[in-house]
């Protein structure tokens, strides 16, 4: 049995925890923050396209803090520490500090998170730890703190974030990724048999996969949040061409300038657009966070790509304006929460 510590049981993390335990080869210690009480009391209710309906499910262990999860003896050490919470600028430095208590010599870090360059602070702090970087394409959402509705299959692209190759040979990093992918696909075996579309895919260039996902996240998420509309409304609105199509091409231009053009070709852009129907009432997670008064992942979704655009001289009038405006929106959230306390 593999020991897994998974931090952040939102819509992505909970399904990952479930899949890992379903493999029969992993025991998951889950660390929850905002939904700890609800889950500790009654477990998760999951309605999943991949796994069916599950009532009151709990991972092997549910804990309210990282410190409570620190292994006390060698056999409790973690094989994998999986990060599945939002990446916010303020939370990264304390997280890096806290993680030290979880990471042993043979622990592999696994990131199931959105955005760009999220691996860098971890690679700096944990130079001898293998980091697997995953881009989840799952369609799932929390419908209550302990209820998950999972409607689109769990497609997870995962590969090593190669770093310190002089002491961590590339083949060793790739082997760790193969190991995790195998474990995950074991947990997806039923869904794969039923052809739901679920699959964990080993990718050697996970940064390319991240840029490809940013075509969607950096445009739909951000514009829908700013305009407080669904993805379908954005596509039907007068902003489809002037804002959305302009933005997605700006994002592709940054990725291309950064050397990832093959992941953001015009065909891929059109496929990304076609994949989202005009009738869709879907509200991206960034908008849902905002509507619930929670900070959202602006920096890793838009701030980082735009700093790369500046460095490489790529012109991004729409995305830059959207970023500046969403910074005001985030500030407004903070300001109002400060005033109300």
């Amino acid at each position: 049995m593999r020991n897994v510590c998974l931090i952040g049981c939102g819509a992505v993390g909970t399904i990952a925890a479930y899949v890992l335990e379903k493999s029969g080869q992993a025991r998951v210690t889950a660390i929850l923050r905002s939904n700890y009480d609800a889950v500790e009391e009654k477990g998760f209710d999951i309605d999943s396209v991949d796994h069916g309906k599950i009532q009151g499910w709990k991972p092997a262990k549910v804990l309210p803090s990282i410190s409570a999860a620190a292994p006390l003896k060698a056999e409790e050490q973690y094989d994998f520490v999986v990060l599945a919470m939002k990446v916010l600028p303020d939370t990264v430095p304390p997280l890096v500090t806290d993680l030290k208590s979880l990471i042993a010599e043979n622990t592999t870090l696994v990131l199931l998170q959105n955005g760009l360059d999220i691996e860098q602070p971890l690679a700096t702090a944990f130079s001898q730890t293998i980091i697997l970087s995953g881009v989840s394409m799952i369609g799932s959402r929390l419908t209550s703190p302990s209820s998950i509705f999972h409607e689109d299959p769990d497609i997870l692209k995962l590969g090593p974030y190669f770093h310190h190759e002089e002491s961590l040979p590339r083949t060793v990093q790739l082997d760790a990724a193969r190991h995790f992918v195998g474990l995950y696909n074991l947990g997806l075996a039923d869904a794969i048999t039923r052809n739901t579309g679920a699959e964990c895919i080993l990718v050697e260039d996970v940064v390319g996969a991240r840029w490809r996902k940013l075509l969607w996240n950096g445009t739909f998420n951000t514009l829908c949040t700013l305009l407080r509309i669904s993805v379908g409304e954005l596509l039907r609105s007068p902003g489809r061409v002037s804002l959305f199509e302009a933005a997605i091409h700006e994002m592709a231009a940054i990725a291309t300038a950064a050397g990832y053009g093959e992941y953001v070709t015009e065909d891929i852009i059109q496929e990304t657009i076609r994949g989202t129907p005009e009738s869709s009432p879907f509200r991206p997670s960034m908008l849902v966070d905002f509507e619930n008064g929670r900070p959202f992942e602006l920096e890793i979704i838009l701030g980082v790509p735009l700093r790369i655009a500046v460095d490489l001289g790529v012109n991004t009038p729409v995305l830059s304006g959207v970023y500046d405006m969403l910074k005001v929106v985030l500030w407004t959230l903070e300001e109002r929460s400060r005033l109300s306390t």
Copy 2:
């Protein structure tokens, strides 16, 4: 006694109606739409920095439609027809048609409205009618359909919109403006004696005054509406420099390219910014309209200047993005009102 027909008793129009009647030389027939029932029943309650507290005031006549106001005999003809309602693209063509029943040979049209190029459709339809164009700097707002809180003095810059000078000599157009300014200042006599700051000022170049006002309206109004924050919040936010100051300089650049540089100098820009304190909780009228589900004046405030920018090759990345986004916001309002009926 002058016969005045005034259309649109919002916060600007009602004070203008009151001032004109207070002159003792004008009788006002007011045409109200949304607030007709409330005002017909109990009149206006006005709390004014210029005029004090007035309860239950009504103009000489209150009517619910332009057709009801059409003069039936010569002595009922209007000397002035004053337009004080919002300027929305859909409402201009039917208004022009309706106005025909109000405008006689000696009628002067007076516009107390925001925005740019609002006079053109009227000059085309009424080539032999003098058009006076007014920019109101009043600080007043409706606190109910029939209650007005007026906190900053009534400063009205007004001048002829010169047109068809071959048949309407320039001096005749200027005389009409002097006449109206005199009438208005008669109504402001008490306030002027008490030095409230109120004044009606004859300007020969009203287009310059409109550009100057757009420095404020085109930036604070639009950004606060998009971000749903007060003018003070905008100034305190991280968008102050990247959005607001960028936008106000873009607007000045358009005005300068259009030949109105003297109205939008750096000194005037800084004065415009200084005039709005960071502590201000003021929510611009465009935002108030939006928050009440009403369409707002996007075209004459931002659409027209941006079309001029395109013609003159002025680069406006911030304002263009704001405009495209506010078009989506307007579309969302229409879409939701369409779905709810």
